[in-house]
Symmetry: C2
Subunit: 156 residues, 2 copies
């Protein structure tokens, strides 16, 4: 492995009722609490199942995934509903220099190598690259959210 | 790019007073608020600087980085101060199947392509793979943190 250029491999896959990117409403336009009630599963490959031991005690998990359906990277993107382009690092757009996505999901339960989750905003077949426990250090109070604050709801 | 196996390249680098992994106290053993007061910078490569536009309005950022000094991946790890091994996905250990790390940092300011941050728990030279704005959807209330709850402080 060369420094800074890790070679990645999926450790699992998302099962979701959203089959295509077009099935996912942009979070800005989704009804209130839409994603909170969206459930699905993450199936971890058998070779990595032992890595899940102890995760069941956590209420939330951080899922890192590959934006496998993203097109070419852009440095500026115009989020849905916005008129003005923003730097891609100031958005959660999939069109990133490195197509890595992050979602914080509620962990409803674990059955061996399958995690039942809610808050799911990912499409079916999304390759999962990593799963981390959500800890108190990830929870920040008194946040400012820049250009998102002019909107009713945050945007991916 | 093959699906699920993104090829990654650094978009920036961390400048930190922690020069070696051994300089970083395990969060479990760090003095209270140790990391909150730890400052440094993230220098984004010139080619990606335009991607930062709009980020300055956010109080916190999510940094995805390469655990470039991590050794071989393990499925079970014994966190510092713990006796019992845990599944690696239930920890923030660097020894992961995909050596991807995540830190939520406070953004103190931006000068062109340099971000001043606090909460820094990364070593000097860490390759940065992505920067995302921290939004209200990343902030969860009423969390349970499994095996970490028996400790005074969370663990990387």
């Amino acid at each position: 492995m060369s420094a800074g250029r890790p070679r990645l491999r999926p450790v699992g896959v998302v099962h979701s009722r959203f089959k295509e990117p077009a099935d996912l409403p942009p979070p800005a336009f989704a009804p209130p609490r839409f994603f909170e009630t969206s459930t699905g599963t993450i199936e971890v490959a058998p070779a990595f199942a032992a890595g899940l031991d102890g995760l069941e005690g956590f209420s939330h998990i951080i899922v890192l995934f590959h934006f496998h359906r993203a097109g070419a990277a852009k440095l500026r993107v115009t989020p849905p509903g916005e008129k003005r382009p923003r730097g891609v690092f100031a958005t959660r757009s999939p069109h990133r220099p490195n197509p890595l996505g992050l979602s914080v999901l509620r962990l409803l339960g674990r059955e061996h190598r399958t995690l039942r989750v809610s808050g799911l905003d990912l499409i079916d077949g999304t390759p999962v690259l990593d799963i981390k426990p959500y800890t108190s250090r990830d929870r920040k109070s008194h946040i400012r959210t820049g250009w998102l604050e002019k909107r009713r709801r945050p945007v991916r």
